[in-house]
Amino acid sequence: MPFLDNSLHLARVWLAIVRVSIIREMEFRANFILGLVRQIAWLGIFILMIKTVFANTTSLAGWGQNEVLIILSLSRIIEGFLNTVFSRNVAEVPQMIQAGTFDFILTKPMPAQLYASFRRFKVDSLANVVAGIVLLIYALTQLPTLPSISSLLIFMLVSLLGIAVFYSLLIIVVSLAFLLERFEGFYAFTNMFSEPLTVPFDIFPRGPRLILTYLLPLAFVVFVPAQALTHRLQGWQVIVSIVITSIFLLLAHLAWRSGIRRYSSASS
């Protein structure tokens, strides 16, 4: 059964990568702690921002302070997870292409897209996840009603879908690296995609909101899961979520393939 064998192979390699990454991180304890403190500091800054906002208003497009804190905490958790598992790896692809080391990815006996995305496990971004979880628990307990079990299940589903959408977006954008000759701006893209994730999308005017939902579906990464946790998500939106995720996963696959094809015909 080649599919099962291949999947086991990939899982085994990934676990080996995780193990080795943790070992590596332990070597750089000072750096790890500095990073930890910095991520907590960022969280603090965002909390300050939210507090300042709510010192001047009682509702941000219909979202109360605790609910906005939920969005913030989710963004930290999900972004932290994304950065740990693949965002930063994908961000390195353009410079690997420039340095000529991308060829090493293509010579490995596994799908290049997967290996390029998951070849490092960046432990230092995990602090965001932990800090986010702490904040999330706090913010949830401040809500008048806790989310129900079904809400939680839907929340987990749309979160996974959101992660898949973000992954697809990154792959689509990084495939541009095969087209452009220099793509130092990619890091800016990852920041760019993360920037609107910390806010309730209801504050965006209609045009941008539609774009961010259907064209560049960042809404599904953090905002929709936040809606799920705050009793705002409706059934049809879950269906849309599934459809959009599938479309973008497909687009990502096509973009990458077309990118590699270009790389394989154009790089000397």
Partner: protein, 328 residues
């Protein structure tokens, strides 16, 4: 002997955009780009058997690396076919990828912050090596590459020579049957170059691995490659034994004399072309067929303390080939 690598009319053409110089030119290219076609590899056919250690040499931009990349599956050819171990490289099947390896000089794939050992363990998982095979292979590499001295040290703390040996270890650990080494010794000092050359030779002998080596260091090629393929402007100019190349393409040998008594230059010219006249040492270039007769004549005519006859070096050959364009 079974054929491991075979290409038929393999061809690669690139579209490159031409950069126009100057301020006006760069403004113009902002709006519209000019492209031109470059024929990196003209229709080429070659065939390499199991266990052969073949050298690819040629000037920069000749098409060596492009050919290697096509055989590695990194590049799709514009036309033609190729098979390596019975597989089409650019289809990048798992079977093919697990049996071949690519080493690129000065390009690293090892984890920077980890000891070599951990990178090798990762290779083991990536290439799905059984535990015993891995242990055996590691032991062998430890011996051949002298890895023990730095196996557990972080790669970023290693010297360039150690790092390259580490890269070789990572490339060879899973016992690939076909290896492409693209300028593997570039930038390394002579001691390390020799170590790596010895390693390649021994590995090739032990495992009958098929190896293609490109190098600008003719020492690499001379020591390792019985067979030589010379590529220039995308075309194979010579494909044969290294010794044949020297014999066929350079029709002379050098007679080096240490004279016992001074002899004026004019007296020597009848015996051959005077390359060096630095008394008491004289070097004459003599046609290959006449070498022994001329040597005998010199010995009888003049007082000579020492005489030696030398083959032209590979450098001489290559230099002649690429300047005089005299191909078989």
């Amino acid at each position: 002997m079974s054929t491991v690598i075979e290409t038929k009319n393999l061809q690669k053409t690139f579209r490159v955009h031409r950069k126009e110089p100057g301020l006006w030119g760069s403004l113009r290219s902002l709006v519209k780009r000019q492209y031109e076609t470059v024929e990196a590899v003209k229709p080429t056919s070659l065939s390499i058997s199991k266990g052969e250690l073949v050298g690819f040499i040629g000037p920069n931009g000749a098409g060596k690396t492009t050919t290697l990349k096509m055989l590695s599956g990194l590049l799709h050819p514009s036309a033609g076919t190729a098979t390596v171990l019975g597989q089409v490289p650019w289809q990048r099947s798992k079977t093919f990828l697990k049996q071949f390896s690519l080493v690129m000089g000065q390009k690293n794939q090892l984890w920077w912050d980890l000891p070599l050992y951990d990178s090798l363990l990762l290779q083991r998982d990536i290439y799905e090596m059984p535990k015993n095979d891995f242990e055996e292979s590691l032991d062998e590499l430890k011996k051949l590459l002298d890895l023990d001295e730095f196996l557990k040290i972080q790669v970023r703390k290693l010297s360039l020579g150690q790092r390259m040996r580490g890269e070789f270890a990572a490339a060879f650990i899973y016992r690939p049957k076909v290896l492409f080494l693209d300028e593997p010794t570039i930038g390394l000092d002579i001691v390390v170059q020799k170590k790596i050359r010895d390693f390649i030779k021994q590995y090739n002998q032990r495992h009958q691995a098929t190896i293609i080596l490109t190098s600008h260091y003719l020492d690499d090629v001379r020591e390792l490659c019985k067979r030589l393929i010379i590529i220039d402007h995308g075309q194979i100019m010579f494909d044969g034994l290294t010794d044949d190349l020297i014999a066929k393409h350079v029709n002379h040998k050098s007679i080096i004399l240490t004279l016992g008594q001074a002899v004026p230059k004019e007296d020597l010219v009848q015996y051959g072309q005077v390359i060096k006249y630095d008394l008491p040492t004289v070097e004459l270039r003599v046609p290959r067929t006449k070498t022994s007769t001329q040597a005998a004549a010199l010995l009888t005519k003049f007082s000579i303390n020492d005489i030696s006859i030398e083959e032209p070096s590979l450098e001489d050959v290559v230099r002649e080939l690429f300047t005089s364009k005299d191909y078989a």
